[in-house]
Amino acid sequence: MNVVLRIKRYNPETDSSPHFEDFKVDVQPTDRLLDALMFVKRHLDGSLSFRKSCAHGICGSDAMTINGSERLACKTLVRDVADEEDAVITIEPLQALPVQRDLMVDYTRFFEFYRVVKPYLFPAQHVDKGEHLQTLEERKKFDDVTKCILCASCQSACPVIREGTDFIGPAAIVQAARFVFDSRDRGIGARLDVLDAANGVWPCENHLECTRVCPRGIKVTKAINLTKREIKTFKEGGHQNV
């Protein structure tokens, strides 16, 4: 079938502002949208700029705004977003992150927020030999948030961030939750200065947009709410994971 890719273009070296450009391509309904973009890049316009790598939804490179919603181009089939001949598919960069060129955005700040939550284990105990033990129940408690691929879709979709606030955002909190709820970790105290700050967990207003768009199906809003609760519990009793 034929579809029209209506792509938002911006070249910092020549353009003063972004504009849309249409590319008509012949595709299979089961093709990935990334395949269609690669066709444009390799056959129609080599200067079309976007990131990609794994092509099956695991590396987080190609999150973009497709028909108004954040999605991974490689995890979106043409038939998911176009149902008839000559359908127009609108493709824009992620929102709320600065655009570098075409569909490429600047992740610098996004990764800064990731780093400040101290996304690494503060071991509860030192093991000399072998492994920490962890029950199935304990392991299950943080399973969902381990799936995050740092694609920034949630960041782009978050209404609070779109207002231009300094909220650290859903992805950073998901990464913090990955440790806060790990029975082997005791780092909540060390993360409090960021999580319990004005731009930490508290600006979240439960719009649920992050959960809606997350390509990994993570219950992002729930993770944020559980983290808020854990912070309160910790401040009352000084305990984490008990």
Partner: protein, 584 residues
């Protein structure tokens, strides 16, 4: 072109996958060492993150196991082309490597008593081949994702200096001393010279040579190709693994763990055909054997379509696992099937075909990750390699599943350690006056006026030829023809320009560089395969169906100079187990 900047470091690691990051952790744990990691992708996008099934280590958490069995399986799986002391180190150190990852936070799946859970994988056996053993430690079917995340987290903790989206174009080598690398910065298009005492190459695989592959777009073999251009030999390039179960047409990987958990391969008659090819290990025989069995089934009309002239396929039947096991142990696999095939593997079989997956060959190294030259020349001083781009060799002619992740950790660490020690006592070598010249020339080649579609045509031809003539089955005639075709394509590629003439974020230029690297590696792969007139592991010659130890129990070293290809050999270490015929 913007002005070239020069940076000075003690050590530079190129690549931020499992191998590069582990080396960075080692290097950064020595105070005073200035280490930089360069990566063409944001580190967290590296291909290690896609590894699914597991990392092998004889922990014995679920059933009796020991590292000696693991080492033996590795050697036999590699059809005796494995260097045996290297395999011993791999298997012995794997145990502590997995504990280290766990201690640093990796969320492995757990057993009922809270230990790291383990499952079966192809070619891993109890007691030297008696029966399958549960050796693969795993975090659902995103083991690689968790390894990459854990290592990146630890690097952040250690404040490792990253240069993200820096793409190396050249490695500076004078005589046998490495003095640094030259990289292109994506954001600006500027070249940067990194002047350093030591360099480690950890750029991963190059499955993108093939039409159907499990590999990411980024897997273009830049490290080996850049070194080959500098006269460094490459080892055992003829051995490229086809994984039996890629999603039909797309090549997306369906992990062997599906079979480890009980999945079965079936032909159009519904027969479990592996009973005829590998009566003991069945669907858990090594990958080379299964891929060949599948091609034989397809070529004899037992594919699902029953028509070898079409792009035929087989079924991977995971219905017996049930929705619960799939959800707990293979959730991503289930999701891939739902997303890309519109089916649930709990109800329906998965259509699969062999997919180009893993490079056994690569940059030759010694046990400390030092890059070795051919013949008597010894090692390159200050040049290291680790991970999929390197060849220690622990995978020989065919890698066992779960052994790549072990390789990254065990040899990434050994190389990182050795390099950290080396830079403590070494002096900074002199930087050649024309450090950036060679790189400038390479980048400048792209200035030609592009012919529309020409680059795409060359790339498509390369991938088709690799698939058809340098795939699961090969023949002398097909390989010789492929070599000639690649020479012609390389000549043609000299005239391909780059459409995008901007400086900032020029991904078109990167694709140009990557394509040239792939073409170079396609040429040496085909040439090495033509040179080896025997069948061993993943290299299967129709005209030479037997393994010929008298002539070919040796590693191939290949060098390309001014378009002519030179071969040398390197002995295989068989000091522990005598080579035997391989049966499963």
């Amino acid at each position: 072109m913007s002005k070239t900047q020069t940076h000075e470091f003690d050590a530079v690691i190129v690549g931020a996958g499992g191998a590069g990051l582990y080396a960075a952790l080692e290097a950064s744990s020595i105070p005073g060492n200035r280490t930089a990691v360069l990566s063409k992708l944001l580190p967290i996008r590296s291909h290690t993150g896609t590894a699914q099934g597991g990392i092998g280590a004889a922990l014995g958490n679920v059933e009796e196991d020991n590292p000696e069995w693991h080492a033996f399986d590795t050697v036999k799986g590699g059809d005796y082309l494995v260097d045996q002391q290297a395999a011993r180190i791999l298997a012995d150190d794997a145990v502590q490597a997995v504990y280290d990852l766990e201690n640093r936070g990796l969320p492995f799946n757990r057993t009922l008593d809270g230990r790291i859970d383990q499952r079966r994988f192809g070619g891993h056996t109890r007691n030297f081949g008696e029966a399958p053993v549960k050796r693969a430690c795993y975090a659902a079917d995103r083991t690689g994702h968790m390894i990459l995340q854990t290592l990146y987290q630890q690097c952040i903790k250690n404040e490792v200096a990253f240069f993200d989206e820096f793409h190396i174009v050249d490695v500076l080598i004078e005589g046998h001393r490495c003095a640094g690398v030259v990289a292109l910065e994506l954001a600006t298009g500027a070249l940067h010279v990194f002047h350093t005492k030591a360099v480690m190459i950890a750029t991963g695989g190059f499955g993108r040579m093939y039409r159907t592959t499990s590999n990411a777009y980024a897997n273009t073999g830049d490290g080996p190709a850049v070194l080959a251009r500098r006269g460094v030999p490459l080892e055992d390039m003829e051995f490229f693994q086809f994984h039996p179960t890629g999603i039909r047409g797309m090549g997306i990987l369906i992990t062997e763990a599906v079979r480890g958990e009980g999945g079965i391969l079936r032909n159009r008659e519904g027969e479990r055909f592996m009973e005829r090819y590998a009566p003991t290990m069945l669907d858990l025989a090594p990958r080379d054997m299964i891929a060949r069995a599948m091609m034989t089934e397809i070529n004899t009309g037992h594919g699902i379509l029953g028509d070898p002239s079409q792009d035929d396929y087989l079924h991977l039947d995971a219905t017996a696992l049930g929705a619960d096991v799939l959800a707990k142990k293979l959730p991503d696999i289930r999701e891939f099937c739902q997303t890309y095939l519109g089916l649930d593997p709990a109800d329906k079989p998965i259509p699969v075909q062999p997919t180009a997956h893993y490079a056994m060959g690569g940059i030759p190294t010694d046990l400390d990750g030092r890059v070795t030259a051919d013949g008597e020349a010894g090692v390159y001083e200050g040049l290291y390699a680790a991970g999929e781009c390197a060849c220690v060799s622990v995978h020989g002619a065919n890698r066992l599943g779960t052994n790549s992740l072990v390789d990254l950790i065990v040899y990434g660490r050994r190389a990182g350690r050795h390099m950290a020690e080396f830079v403590r006592q070494a002096d900074l070598p002199t930087l050649p006056g024309d450090a950036a010249t060679h790189a400038e020339m390479i980048v400048k080649r792209s200035d030609k006026k592009p012919q529309p579609g020409q680059a795409a045509k060359i790339r498509t031809s390369m991938r088709d030829i690799m698939m058809d003539s340098v795939g699961v089955y090969r023949s002398g005639a097909g390989l010789s023809k492929a070599v000639e075709q690649f020479k012609a394509l390389r000549a043609e590629a000299q005239d391909v320009g780059v459409g995008d003439t901007n400086q900032a974020y020029n991904t078109d230029l990167l694709e140009f560089l990557e394509s040239q690297n792939l073409l170079d590696l396609a040429l040496v792969t085909a040439a090495s395969a033509a040179h080896r007139e025997e069948s061993r592991g993943a290299h299967s010659r129709e005209d030479f169906p037997e393994r010929l130890d008298e002539r070919f129990l040796c590693h191939t070293l290949v060098t390309v100079e001014d378009g002519s290809i030179r071969f040398a050999t390197k002995p295989v270490d068989t000091s522990i187990w005598k080579p035997k015929p391989r049966a499963y």
